[in-house]
C-alpha cells in the first residue's frame, strides 16, 4: 500500500485540497481511499464520498488524535486493501503542534494557511519541519509580498521540502499535489518508524517508541473498531 499522511492546523484547508487532489488521482486511474481522523465530530467523509472515494472516519475522542492515528495504521491499511485501494491517504485532525504523524516511508504532507501570519511556520514544529511537501493555502487572501515572506519562512524551517501553493476553492495547485501522491512508495508497516518521536503522554509512544507495529505498544490503546485495552503489567 502506498501511504500519504496529511497534517496541518484546523481550518487550513486539508480536506478541500485533498478533494481536488484525489479527483485528479481518480482521473489518473489510481484507486485511493481516505481515513479521516478527528476528535469529536467530522462530516468530511460525506465530502469524500461525493467524489467516489471510500472513506473511513476515526474519532479519537479523549485520546490524542495523532497517537490514535499511529496506533491504527495497520487497520487503515487493511481496510484500504479491502476496498481495492492502491493509495491510502490519512488525514489527521491537526490539533496540537507537537506531533508529526509522518512515518519514514510515507509521503508527509503539511497543509498550512498563509493568512495565519508569517511567524506560523516557525511555530508549528515537526509536522512542518519533517514534511516532504508543504502546501500553502489561502494565498489569495494576502498581498504578494506577504506570500513571498511566508514561503521563505517555510524554507527556513524545512529547506528540503517542496512547496505547493494551492487553492482549496479553485483547485489550483492540487494537480501538482496529486502528481506527488503518484510518486509515493509502498509502505510495509512491520519495520516502519515515525520520523519524529511523539511527546509526553501515557503510553509507549509517549516515552519515545517510534516503531508502529502494535506488538511494540503498551498502555491504554484504543482501536479504530471501538475496542480499548490495556497492554502491559
Amino acid at each position: 500500500m502506498r501511504m500519504v499522511i496529511v497534517a496541518g492546523t484546523p481550518g487550513s484547508g486539508k480536506t478541500a485540497v485533498l478533494i481536488h487532489a484525489l479527483q485528479s488521482i481518480n482521473e489518473m486511474g489510481l484507486k485511493s481511499a481516505v481515513v479521516k481522523i478527528d476528535c469529536l465530530y467530522t462530516d468530511d467523509d460525506r465530502k469524500f464520498a461525493k467524489i467516489g472515494v471510500p472513506t473511513k472516519v476515526g474519532l479519537s475522542m479523549d485520546m490524542c488524535p495523532d497517537h490514535y492515528a499511529i496506533y491504527n495504521l495497520e487497520e487503515m491499511i487493511d481496510w484500504a486493501g479491502e476496498n481495492q485501494a492502491e493509495l491510502l491517504v490519512v488525514e489527521t485532525a491537526g490539533l496540537c503542534h507537537r506531533c508529526a504523524p509522518f512515518t519514514v516511508n510515507s509521503l508527509g504532507v503539511c497543509v498550512i494557511d498563509a493568512t495565519s501570519g508569517p511567524n506560523t511556520p516557525l511555530k508549528v514544529g515537526p509536522f512542518l519541519s519533517t514534511a516532504d511537501i508543504a502546501v500553502i493555502t489561502k494565498g489569495d487572501m494576502i498581498s504578494q509580498a506577504e506570500r513571498e515572506i511566508f514561503r521563505e519562512r517555510i524554507l527556513e524551517v524545512n529547506p528540503e521540502c517542496k512547496i505547493i501553493e494551492a487553492n482549496g476553492l479553485s483547485g489550483q495547485g492540487c494537480a501538482e499535489l496529486a502528481d506527488e501522491f503518484m510518486k509515493s512508495q509502498e509502505v510495509s508497516l512491520d519495520q516502519e518508524k515515525l520520523r519524529h518521536s511523539a511527546p509526553l503522554a501515557v503510553c509507549t509512544l509517549c516515552v519515545g517508541e517510534t516503531r508502529v507495529n502494535k506488538k511494540h505498544h503498551r498502555g491504554i490503546l484504543r482501536r479504530i473498531d471501538g475496542f480499548q485495552s490495556y497492554e502491559g503489567e
Binding site: 493568512t115 501570519g117 508569517p118 511567524n119 489569495d140 487572501m141 494576502i142 498581498s143 504578494q144 509580498a145 506577504e146 513571498e148 515572506i149 514561503r151 521563505e152 512547496i163 501553493e165 487553492n167 479553485s170 483547485g171 489550483q172 495547485g173 492540487c174 494537480a175 501538482e176
Partner: protein, 255 residues
C-alpha cells in the same frame, strides 16, 4: 528577457469556452481589464500571477515568450517574473514596516537599502506619513495600499506588472501608475475608472468569468482621455482642499 506573454482562453463561469481564444501582450504595452464586479477581472489577473497551466477554475494557460514557464519560474520569488498589486487593503503580517520590507527585500534578492526608498515613495502617494517603526497592521487602508504600491514598484521589480483596482483607497493613482508601470514592462490594470481605462493601449472586456472582447483605445478616446485627466485633476485638487478643511467657493467646470 520577456518579450511577450500569451493568454490562452479557457472557460467562463458556465463552462462555456471564452469568446476570446488568445491574447498576446507585448513588452511596453499597457492593457486594461474592465467589466462589472464579479465578471472575473481579478481571476484573470490571478491566472497571470500564477502563470496558470489549465489548473485554475478558468482552465486558462499562460505562455511566456510562446513557451510554458518552468515550475521553478512559476514559484521561486527570486526568479519571479510577475509583480502583483492585489485588491487587498490590509496587511495581516504582525511586524513592523521596516522588518517586513527588509524580509521581502531578502526574499526577492533585493538590496536592504531599498527599504527607505519604498517608504519614501509610499509617502508621496498617501496623506499621513508611514514610518519604519509602525506596525503593519495598524496602517490605514490608504497607507497599506501606498506601501503595497511602493513595494511592488521597488522591491518586486518584475517585467510583468499586474495592478488590481489602483483607484481604491484614495491614493494618488496617476503617480502610483507611473511608479508601477516602468519602461518596457508588460502592464495590466484592472479598473472601473474610465480615466485609467482610457490611458491603456487596449482593454480586455470581461463578462461572466470569460474574456468577451478586446477593445483598442482609438484616437478619439486618447483625446478624450486628456480631457478626463483634467477633470480628474480638478477632482483631486478639490479632494485635497476638502481634506485639509478648506471651504470650496467655486468650481471651474469648463474643460
Amino acid at each position: 528577457m520577456i518579450e511577450e506573454i500569451t493568454i490562452i482562453g479557457g472557460f467562463d463561469k458556465q463552462e462555456n469556452p471564452e469568446p476570446v481564444k488568445k491574447v498576446i501582450i507585448k513588452k511596453g504595452e499597457i492593457f486594461g481589464v474592465v467589466g462589472p464586479t464579479g465578471s472575473g477581472k481579478s481571476s484573470l489577473i490571478g491566472d497571470i500571477e500564477q502563470l496558470s497551466q489549465e489548473d485554475t477554475f478558468s482552465k486558462r494557460k499562460i505562455l511566456v515568450n510562446g513557451e510554458e514557464p518552468s515550475y521553478e519560474d512559476r514559484t521561486n520569488p527570486r526568479k519571479k517574473m510577475v509583480a502583483q498589486l492585489s485588491q487587498n487593503m490590509n496587511f495581516l503580517a504582525d511586524m513592523t514596516v521596516g522588518d517586513f520590507l527588509s524580509l521581502h527585500a531578502k526574499c526577492r534578492g533585493a538590496h536592504s537599502k531599498c527599504v527607505n526608498a519604498v517608504i519614501e515613495l509610499a509617502n508621496t502617494l498617501t496623506g499621513e506619513p508611514i514610518k519604519k517603526e509602525h506596525d503593519l497592521t495598524i496602517l490605514s487602508g490608504g497607507q497599506s495600499r501606498a506601501l503595497m504600491v511602493a513595494d511592488v514598484a521597488i522591491i518586486s521589480n518584475s517585467p510583468i506588472v499586474l495592478i488590481d483596482e489602483l483607484e481604491n483607497a484614495g491614493i494618488r493613482k496617476h503617480d502610483a501608475l507611473k511608479a508601477l508601470a516602468g519602461h518596457g514592462k508588460i502592464v495590466m490594470v484592472v479598473t472601473h475608472d474610465p480615466v485609467l481605462a482610457l490611458m491603456t493601449d487596449k482593454r480586455i472586456v470581461m463578462k461572466n468569468g470569460g474574456m468577451q472582447a478586446i477593445v483598442g483605445t482609438n484616437d478619439k478616446e486618447k483625446d478624450l482621455s486628456k480631457k478626463l485627466n483634467k477633470i480628474d485633476g480638478l477632482m483631486l485638487s478639490l479632494r485635497d482642499k476638502v481634506r485639509n478643511g478648506e471651504v470650496i467657493d467655486n468650481v471651474d467646470v469648463k474643460i
